[in-house]
């Protein structure tokens, strides 16, 4: 059992290694202090770039105004993202069943990934009306294709020998998919999901910019209009925090599930 213990010990060590947390915090502190000193030393105007401390102060002061928009954007991103994950994986699973469908759908998926969905928003308003909650759809069609593309990539690139193994023990199509194809694709599924976090955030905010009325994107424009630069920057940071949090959660789950990759 000595070997097993050694393996677990190594994993624990990797997990507990504080460098992974401290190093980024140090960088963050350097950026914060550097900006604070630099902006003050060179007398940079607030409309160009407010100091980090002013951004935080301004944001806290106006947080009651920002909060509803923050929650709205968070809701749009989370719902859209949560629909996009199963949708992307399911579509990839369906496509991968037939070679001809893979060939037919791959360009379509890539085309959907590349097209900025913000361009569809005015049209969608025409089709579906102006309910702000419809922005979920933008998030879904922005994030699903990238998840689908990566997953599909994982599904169709399985080593021939692994499939031969399945055949040699007479595995059914479902068993082969569950034990081999899907597991083989898991790292790529997570790559897709992580990219999906980014795409969801972009989708939600760009929808706010076009449709207005609600959301952090809308709030940024409103603050700018009244020269509340600190609060605008605050909103940008909040958007980033949503994106980073989702990404981190996805990464944590990946590390829990994809144990065989270091």
């Amino acid at each position: 059992m000595a070997k097993n213990e050694a393996i677990t010990a190594r994993k624990k060590k990797e997990k507990r290694d504080p460098k992974g947390i401290i190093a980024p915090l140090v960088v963050l502190a350097i950026i914060y202090i550097g900006l604070e000193i630099g902006l003050r030393a060179f007398h940079v105007a607030a409309y160009v770039m407010p100091t980090p401390t002013h951004i935080i102060q301004g944001t806290i002061k106006s947080f009651a105004i920002i909060l509803p928009d923050f929650l709205f954007t968070l809701k749009i991103i989370c719902i859209g993202f949560c629909v996009a994950i199963p949708a992307g994986i399911l579509l990839a699973a369906l496509f991968s069943q037939f070679d001809i469908v893979v060939k037919a759908m791959q360009p379509v998926v890539i085309w959907l990934v590349i097209t900025p969905m913000i361009t569809l928003i005015p049209l969608m308003t025409l089709w579906l009306g102006t309910d702000p909650n419809l922005r979920v759809i933008i998030v879904i069609i922005q994030a699903t294709p990238i998840i689908c593309m990566n997953t599909l990539n994982g599904f169709i690139h399985v080593e021939q020998e692994k499939l031969e193994l399945a055949k040699s023990i007479g595995a059914t199509k479902l068993q082969t998919f569950v034990h081999i194809t899907f597991m083989n694709a898991l790292p790529q599924v997570f790559t897709g999901i992580k990219l999906g976090c980014i795409f969801s955030t972009i989708g939600a905010v760009s929808a706010d910019f076009v449709s207005r009325g609600q959301g952090l994107g809308d709030r940024i424009i409103k603050f700018l209009k009244y020269s509340n630069f600190e609060q605008s920057y605050g909103c940008i940071i909040l958007i980033a925090i949503i994106g980073i949090s989702l990404y981190t959660v996805a990464e944590k789950i990946e590390k829990r599930i994809v144990l065989w990759k270091k």
Partner: protein, 267 residues
């Protein structure tokens, strides 16, 4: 005469690619009795892997039939039934472990697919792990153990559902010389104890002479049977036999067979 365990009856395989059809195996026949250890020897591209892949239902035959225990097993375009597949264990050239499963899960995979549950099968996995010295690595992932260990895992995975036939596709070809010799002796040991029927694919003449009772020599363009050499060497075989005159005689004979093939290729 007793019914052969495995019989190839004028088997031909043609691979159809986009631009051409390739004759991989031409009119191949052989009969193997139960409990025999035979080798199929030949240069790469002679269709030796294709033979055992057809036998194990991984690819289908173009012409001719294959029988196991007198039962025809090649179904055109149809999946081979599990009752037949269960009789065979396939050992790949690469360990071919699934990296997302632990060593134990990998070895138990055939049990899951064949739906063999219960403590007796669990015990069998443990015994096999013990047999090849992998007990303490059972919970490790394949990426965490060495090539030799992985190939041992590959061997016992093929044996876990207690097949009567082991099909080995150059199983130790990817290993270093020392490990390879050791694995060969372990394999002989397993064969002596379990009396399974073994078809061993190799391009290594010495290995073929050391292990088997009979060698089928194959040639290329097209892949075909050129010679059958019966080996009358005493068992148990040991590594020290390699220097004995009889061993060298057989080796030279097989080298001659292979040499002829190479010459014919040049012509």
């Amino acid at each position: 005469m007793q019914e052969p365990k495995i019989k190839f009856d004028h088997v031909t395989k043609v691979f159809q690619t986009r631009s051409q059809s390739i004759l991989a195996v031409k009119d191949y026949s052989m009969e193997i009795a139960a409990g025999e250890f035979v080798s199929i020897l030949g240069p790469s591209g002679c269709g030796k892997s294709t033979l055992i892949r057809m036998l194990d239902g991984i690819i289908d035959t173009t012409e001719g039939d294959i029988f196991i225990d007198g039962q025809k097993v090649n179904y055109a375009k149809k999946k081979m039934p599990q009752s037949i597949l269960r009789k065979m264990g396939f050992i790949f050239q690469q360990p071919n472990m699934l990296p997302w499963f632990t060593v134990r899960e990998n070895i138990a995979l055939p049990l899951r697919v064949f739906d063999l549950k219960g403590p007796e099968w669990e015990k069998r996995v443990d015994e096999l792990l013990e047999l090849v010295g992998l007990t303490e690595y059972a919970k490790a992932y394949p990426a965490e153990i060495s090539g030799g260990m992985l190939q041992r895992a590959g061997v016992i995975r093929a044996m876990v559902h207690d097949p009567e036939i082991l099909l080995m596709d150059e199983p130790f070809g990817a290993l270093d010389e020392l490990t390879r010799e050791q694995m060969n002796m372990e394999l002989l040991d397993i064969w002596t104890r379990t009396k399974k029927t073994i078809i061993f694919i190799t391009h290594n003449i010495e290995e073929a002479v050391l292990l088997s009772s009979r060698v089928y020599v194959m040639g290329t363009h097209p892949g075909r049977l050129v010679e059958i050499v019966d080996l009358d060497l005493p068992r148990p075989r040991t590594l020290s036999m390699i220097t004995q005159p009889k061993f060298i005689q057989y080796r030279e004979k097989l080298e001659g067979c292979i040499g002829e093939i190479d010459l014919s290729k040049i012509k």
